[in-house]
Symmetry: C2
Subunit: 328 residues, 2 copies
């Protein structure tokens, strides 16, 4: 259909120079005069030459490639992918993507990135046990994004769950709430930390720390919301925004008004929390910013001499329309 794609050799012949010189020009490396540079570039354009990244990667020790593993099941990972691309471009790196999907476990995703020759790995909310992660980290820098209990062999860039929960409770208390419940994330990553933080925070204020079992999805929130209604608190802190939405929906179905009858606070500040008809108050981890930080961390590990570290950013509160003064 097409004939073969042109190689360095083809361009070299067309321009009447050596292969090596073409390579120099294509890489913008020093060692070619301005005149031949132009001549070679013209020939390359003429032939529609594009460097073969496989060959290039193979030969050069540096691949300038960062591996990013994400999950197709988590919509907000897309936001992170987005930000990571932007960050990598700025630092002069490229990103290789690998998804963990149905029937494609995390280990497989990571290994495909390794085979591609990535110099560092960024894993979004990795679910592998710390030992296995450490195994990878022995071979190349690995950055865990949004999960910090990964041992000392890895870097991590995450958000301070304690601070986030503190902000949440502080906000609600300042609105007069005392009976505040937490719907946790079940088995989800970070759920245990947030639950513990909630308990600590409430206890330290002398308040009752009511926790009901939830999960990361709307369904989980819906179920938990129904359970809450048997003894309705005045405010709810949900594990994440999707869960909060489910809780809210269960209230709505029961004729309860948010925030007049009960306040609902989410976590993550995901895209849809900002939708004009949702306007969910939430704790923002600023995922894109964390993604940038992870990329920076990866590059620093590659180019500097720093060792693994755990970077923790403080989240912030975004007040929208689902939290209000305590009723009555």
């Amino acid at each position: 259909m097409t004939g073969k794609r042109p190689t360095l050799m083809d361009v070299a012949e067309a321009a009447g120079v050596s292969r090596a010189l073409v390579s120099i020009v294509m890489r913008d490396a020093p060692g070619a005069s301005e005149a031949t540079r132009l001549k070679v570039q013209a020939a390359a354009r003429e032939l529609g030459y594009r460097p073969d990244s496989r060959a290039r990667l193979l030969r050069s020790s540096r691949t300038r490639l960062l591996g990013l593993s994400f999950s197709t099941a988590q919509a907000f990972h897309a936001e992170i992918v987005d930000a990571a691309y932007a960050g990598a471009t700025i630092r002069g790196y490229d990103i290789a993507l690998s998804a963990v999907a149905n029937g494609r476990p995390e280990a497989r995703a990571v290994e495909s990135l390794l085979d591609l020759g990535c110099e560092a790995l960024i894993m979004i909310s990795p679910s592998l046990p710390p030992e296995e992660l450490a195994g990878y980290a022995a071979r190349l820098p690995v950055i865990s994004l949004l999960r910090d209990d990964v041992g000392d062999a890895l870097d991590s860039v995450s958000s301070d769950d304690h601070a986030g929960i503190h902000l949440a409770v502080e906000h609600l208390v300042s609105l007069g709430h005392q009976r505040i419940a937490h719907v946790d994330g079940g088995q989800a990553v970070s759920s245990a930390q947030r639950r513990a933080a909630f308990q600590a925070e409430m206890t330290s204020r002398g308040l009752d720390a009511r926790v009901v079992a939830g999960g990361p999805t709307e369904e989980d929130g819906l179920r938990a919301g129904r359970e809450l209604q048997q003894d309705l608190p005045t405010a709810v802190v949900a594990f994440n925004d999707r869960c909060a939405l489910g809780v809210w929906e269960s209230f709505r179905a029961a004729g309860l008004r948010v925030p007049d009858d009960v306040s609902v606070l989410g976590y993550d500040d995901s895209q849809f929390a900002r939708l004009s008809y949702v306007q969910l108050s939430s704790i923002s981890q600023d995922a894109p910013l964390l993604a940038r930080a992870a990329v920076d961390r990866a590059v620093d590990r590659l180019e500097g001499t720093t060792s693994a570290a755990h970077l923790v950013r403080t989240p912030h509160l975004v007040v929208r329309e689902t939290t209000g003064r305590v009723p009555g």
Copy 2:
């Protein structure tokens, strides 16, 4: 930190055989006895050897790699990625992912896939003009997924919008509706087709084809819903599920009940349409199935002698709880 990763040569030395033989064993190719096969495999495992995909890809003419471009802005693309992985694995191919993201245009995404040595390209709802797509298609098979007006140089796998809209209108009419409005998708891919199909379908039934301007997001639906309320129809066919959700929300805000006062029908049958508290009636394109079809099509193009074709699948109706009998 790590030492170099082991190569074929290392394994060969460890097992006391030649490089080529190790290659044969690793590829499960014929030409090695069972005994040495075991010996080599043991040595490879011992050293933690993994083949370098860059070198492998470089040397072999076949890369067995399918490029898949998707958009981080479209949540349901994740479902497709998921299905594509599964399909590719079955056919013995691998998938290279490239995202079109903020500041990373489609052309860039495609070119990075090309440089990786993909043998065929699957593009989800490509937004490039047909001429440019044809340019790529001259070099390798390109499958357009969910968009069919891409010219004859490309394959396409899409869903029959006419049939889908027909199902939608048929369903509503069978429930007694006559005053049915369509909220279109604005500039979105497929919007024009669905709008035209709606107009044709309604006109052929002697009904008034009311169309209001919408878009692909909840916000767009919300806006359109408000406009609709100035002269409320008994049923609404929205461009997609997100749009339908916006329309619904605008009704809910106005105290209108769905489906008692007005029916709302979505399109796409996305993940969230199935959520227990949403239960949106919708037209399903069965995206995962289309993804499988696209993968199959790509592989067939590579292995068979078939030429480009446009494959159209018929969508089906999923009745949930947002459509009901005409009021009054």
